[in-house]
Symmetry: C2
Subunit: 346 residues, 2 copies
Amino acid sequence: MSGSTEGDLTKTGMSLKHDREWDYELDRIVEAIEERDASKVGLQFPEGLKRRGPQVADDLREVAPDDVTFMLSGQPCYGACDLDTYLMRRTDVFVHFGHTPMKESDSIVYVPLFSNVDPFPIMEESLEELPDPEEDPDVGLVTTAQHMNRFEEMTDWLEERGYEVHTRRGDDRLTKEGQVLGCNYASADIPADQVLYVGGGKFHPVGLAMEHPEKTVVIADPVNNAVSIAEHDQFLKQRYASVHKAMDAEKWGVIFCTKIGQGRWETAQEIVENNENAYLITMDEVTPDRLRNFDMDAFVNTGCPRITTDDGPRFHKPMLTPGEYEAAIGERPLDQIEFDTFHDTW
Amino acid sequence: MSGSTEGDLTKTGMSLKHDREWDYELDRIVEAIEERDASKVGLQFPEGLKRRGPQVADDLREVAPDDVTFMLSGQPCYGACDLDTYLMRRTDVFVHFGHTPMKESDSIVYVPLFSNVDPFPIMEESLEELPDPEEDPDVGLVTTAQHMNRFEEMTDWLEERGYEVHTRRGDDRLTKEGQVLGCNYASADIPADQVLYVGGGKFHPVGLAMEHPEKTVVIADPVNNAVSIAEHDQFLKQRYASVHKAMDAEKWGVIFCTKIGQGRWETAQEIVENNENAYLITMDEVTPDRLRNFDMDAFVNTGCPRITTDDGPRFHKPMLTPGEYEAAIGERPLDQIEFDTFHDTW
């Protein structure tokens, strides 16, 4: 398969990701193993890369001392806050692949796995959706961890074409300049009416558009080779529908997620203290199966917003963000629903 | 619905469990709350009783001091080893309902939830399947946690009818005389050719029959009001089929379960040390979804045997017990497959 940029691959199942070769930074891992004289090494991959784990373990076995045992984390992993803390605490070296650190830690080796897809052809196409720089040169630039390694190049590229590029590091939850997370878009708090998002997927740019409804969010997706404008109308309709369904709820399950970086204890406790029909439910993975056994009419998720908004329809009862809960019980106007974001680390 | 004993209810969906009223021992919980001046209280219920959680929390709220926050565990719970250790460590009082302690602990209040279904009508029926006590008086008696409270009565009842009842406490994993767990049948190591199992479900008696193939296991199920003989042929066929399928496997995923009471580290490590195509995978919940992302041909589960044998067919690749793995790689004759049991606590 070629890496050329012919046509939108969004619905073809032929995304350019098949062209990607990841750099697992084996040298850096082996160095950590030798430095710590490690005998147990834990490897954690995001869901989409779990199948590469055994090969990476094989490659490491070849170069690491013989007495090292490698362990692959089987815990679900969708982001930096899905740290397998059990494995981390019980291994001498623990490697987390594919995400940037939410907080630096000596006990974790982070291997970011940068994409090798060339972002510039699709950025070229995306210029058609941006205003002429002579009319309005201000544009924000954001991207995800996979493309962070070329962020400076992207900035230069836009500047060469006459734009004034606005970037910022966001808050403490974000490691890098211009980085967005599914739960944090603080790096787009910039003085420009347009934001160019370079990266795959719809979730991040739609979240961004919800968080900054006054801005136009242009998506340059180098993986699917497609340019589009982030539309949050459809998404908002889904959210309104969930809130409406939950308005009749009597019994509320209030989910407190026990994952590192996802616990909003004050938010959860405030809800149960003010609603005698609300019950605190604690869990790490929030899945439809786990909630089915609770006899609740609706749920409020104080953990990862992505669970609520992306997976929401998979749950048997309405699943709301804390802000949507306020709308459902009449404490906030329905038209003031916002995207749920996180602004702390852990 | 009446609690009478008319007919086998196994396939009617009308088991006598609907008649059950559980004793949640609220007094004992409130006592612990007051003694420890607790402000956070964790409640963990088995899956089948999770929907009772909110009502129990309500009842406790009424009698406990106002400043106590109750938290329901949303973690899956099928047995005493499914302890929600996160919640346990972060609450002042932690209550685990429905299972006996695998090991006594001051930090856990165990509420066993004894069944109030009368076991004697179905025991009466089960006598037809036992030999005449004048010919062979020796019979073993085992039951599950739900019926433990009447174990002595059951023993007396059988003795009054001329049987010599053999019971034992099993090993350290078992709290009570005559108790069996899904993973431990040491209480049936008694000198009798017959064992009477009083309790619901097929899993326990079939495990028992596999573990003690020389004995006849008679099931007196007071919940479904049915008597039967534990047949392990069908079960064994399934196991053989899984082993056969796994014989061609090249890449093996070796699951090390991180749950308290389920970790068999030596077993897991021995397999990966002796098979260069075996990879250690660590996880708490072992589910089909979590394993699908690993590119393996077969799995060995060193965690809960129930996952392997009960849920086995739900996994996309063969899932074997450690003993079955030995058969699949030719290190043990196929006809020496045994039921996988656990004999330690944690």
